[in-house]
Symmetry: C2
Subunit: 379 residues, 2 copies
């Protein structure tokens, strides 16, 4: 196990941000001369530094995995999984979660400052990939003096990063947990993202991405993008159970275009509240990174080859009602891991909540993750 | 059988439009003093007028079922089903298809003229329902002197109209063909439509619907609405087969935001070409009518009760990859028909094309419709 060196930062703790010297060479050919990374940590390193868990967040997630979001004031997005007595526990683990490259909560991205000009990057930020996000995370670990991870874990886009880790840094981690995710974006996945991007870019306030100066962002377009995406996070049965055709606070249809149905009101709320915490350009960049994601493509078309060099253990979890990244996508990953001789466990959990289940109260998920992590800790 | 009276129009034929005296009382409480209906006919009535087939079109369909679209120059939208030697054949049937109330190809709708003011209706047009559309169709049949239909047939929203016919006019038709449709709009169905409406209304060119005077319609918003809806018309497997992750006319990713993938280019084309032939306000009104649609709700929550008074025969067809109106929705209808003692045949066909299959080349669909119609004609 690698010993954790004295971090350049003077303490582990919350709401940290560092500017790391580059260059970070990107898949698209560009170079970032330096990289800002905003991150949170919970817990402390143990004596041999063998208890470090990196959590990777999803498309619209952030580093506030188990701490209050500074803009919304809401609790962290994964307090069901991370916290005292939870599978990932600050009493046992040093937990790190960094805002992904391209996002808008402090890490380098279109909403950040281009050091070469002192102005906002906007659409002059280079297009990035999931692998670029992972390379930036590795730079952060270097900076923190962390050589090796006990585990990398993520759901949805977080799962894509977790799955990419052993392909780029096969010797730097012991175990990988991939929840409700995929090894490539399908045509339908790309299609939904393209609708969102077109909604943003069709908003006259977008202005080619240069909307920061007067603080008039393309909120209407971003809101529509979020609404469309949000449908894909929920199952048809879940929507029927939660909303059905129930009307919103009234007895009868209004025969108008206000939100008559609860589902309309709910979706509008999802759109409106999203624009208060997220940057439209970041949404463009991160969806693009997800659409470009195809691990097999990066390894001569063979997903098994991607995992050839790693000794990590893998845990895959899918949900039976997830139609965004259905169980069949997890099965493809498991088959490739088997072909590569990797140790892989896989379970499809039952949940009515569709893709969003990985964020919700699914006790089975906690049991699976807990059991998998503890097995590695005993070893 | 009813004898066809001399029609008020001087001939059956193509590209017809009539203004029918009202009032047409609408479900929403409003009244249309008169109703414009644009329609096409093919074939001639037989001696006893027993060969009339009414075709109902889908959300973005029109009356040009088997004739060239005047704006796009494209062939009719159902030439696979309607034509010489097809299941619905002008040599054997008098075929009628009318532009639905609320649409934009000549029938009364927001893009039409409010006779009270002489100006465009725009959003002052009353909100309508599927049943209102059917009542307008019945007015057209009255005008044409057609008392009774051999069959009413439709796919998708056309199926909703076909299914509504026997509930409003139980004695006016012998048979009903409902393809890839449903007896109610689900929460997920409503959600997708709400995204489309929000995309249109978020477009600054929409201006509360009053965009006709300067001919600057909310094309960007309507295009996004169409793109989002179009994804729901196709199956995930069909998208993968047709597009997969193939790039558009280039060898490598551009690391930009142009349409890199074929699926992106295809969706953008769907959006752009749609706005050239369709009115954004009509899209709002018709999607609203579909979302309000719930046949059981209109009959004290009992779908079986809706069909109690009819003697019509029913033919239901679903497609196994249709996730917009899945087979389970057709089954609900069949169970209700059985409970009502109605004669119903039902088949789920296999097709890779998702919901759109009803418009495509599915020989099995033609055989089912042909067999069902001929069985009625022998009787």
């Amino acid at each position: 196990m690698t010993t954790i060196a004295a971090p350049l930062d003077d303490r582990f703790g919350l709401d940290r941000k560092v500017t790391l010297p580059g260059p970070l060479r990107l898949d698209g050919g560009g170079v970032l001369a330096s990289v800002d990374i905003a991150y949170e940590t919970y817990g402390s390193p143990n004596a041999d530094g063998s208890n470090v868990i990196l959590i990777c967040h999803a498309l619209t997630g952030d580093q506030y995995v188990a701490s209050t979001h500074p803009l919304t004031g809401k609790p962290g997005w994964w307090t069901r999984m991370v916290g005292a007595g939870k599978p990932i526990d600050p009493a046992r683990h040093l937990i790190i979660c960094a805002n992904v490259l391209g996002s808008c909560m402090g890490s380098s991205g279109p909403a950040g400052i281009d050091p070469a000009t002192g102005g906002k990057w906007a659409m002059r930020f280079p297009v990035i990939t999931i692998a670029d996000m992972v390379r930036a995370q590795a730079m952060l670990l270097d900076h923190l003096g962390i050589g090796r991870l006990h585990a990398v874990i993520g759901g949805s886009m977080g799962g894509m990063q977790a799955l990419t880790w052993p392909t780029l840094f096969p010797d730097r981690l012991e175990s990988v947990v991939v929840i409700a995710s995929t090894a490539r974006h399908s045509a339908q996945n790309i299609a939904f993202h393209e609708v969102g991007r077109q909604a943003i870019m069709a908003d006259p306030n977008w202005r080619g991405g240069d909307y920061y100066a007067d603080n008039r962002p393309p909120s209407a377009g971003l809101s529509v993008a979020r609404m469309a995406a949000h449908i894909t996070y929920l199952s048809e049965a879940g929507l029927t159970e939660k909303f059905g055709r129930r009307l919103q606070g009234r007895d009868a249809k209004t025969f108008g275009f206000d939100a008559d149905f609860q589902i309309e009101s709910y979706l509008r709320h999802q759109g409106i509240s999203f624009v208060e915490r997220f940057d439209a350009n970041s949404y463009l960049y991160i969806t693009r990174a997800m659409d470009y994601y195809d691990l097999a493509e990066d390894h001569q078309g063979s997903l098994a080859r991607a995992f050839e060099r790693t000794k990590a253990r893998f845990c895959l979890v899918s949900f039976d009602t997830d139609w965004l990244y259905p169980t069949s996508e997890s099965r493809i990953i498991v088959h490739a891991l088997n072909a590569a001789g990797a140790q892989a466990s896989f379970v499809e959990l039952s949940s009515p909540f569709g893709h969003d289940a990985f964020l919700l109260d699914v006790p089975e998920l906690n049991r699976v993750v807990d059991g998998f992590l503890r097995a590695g800790e005993r070893g």
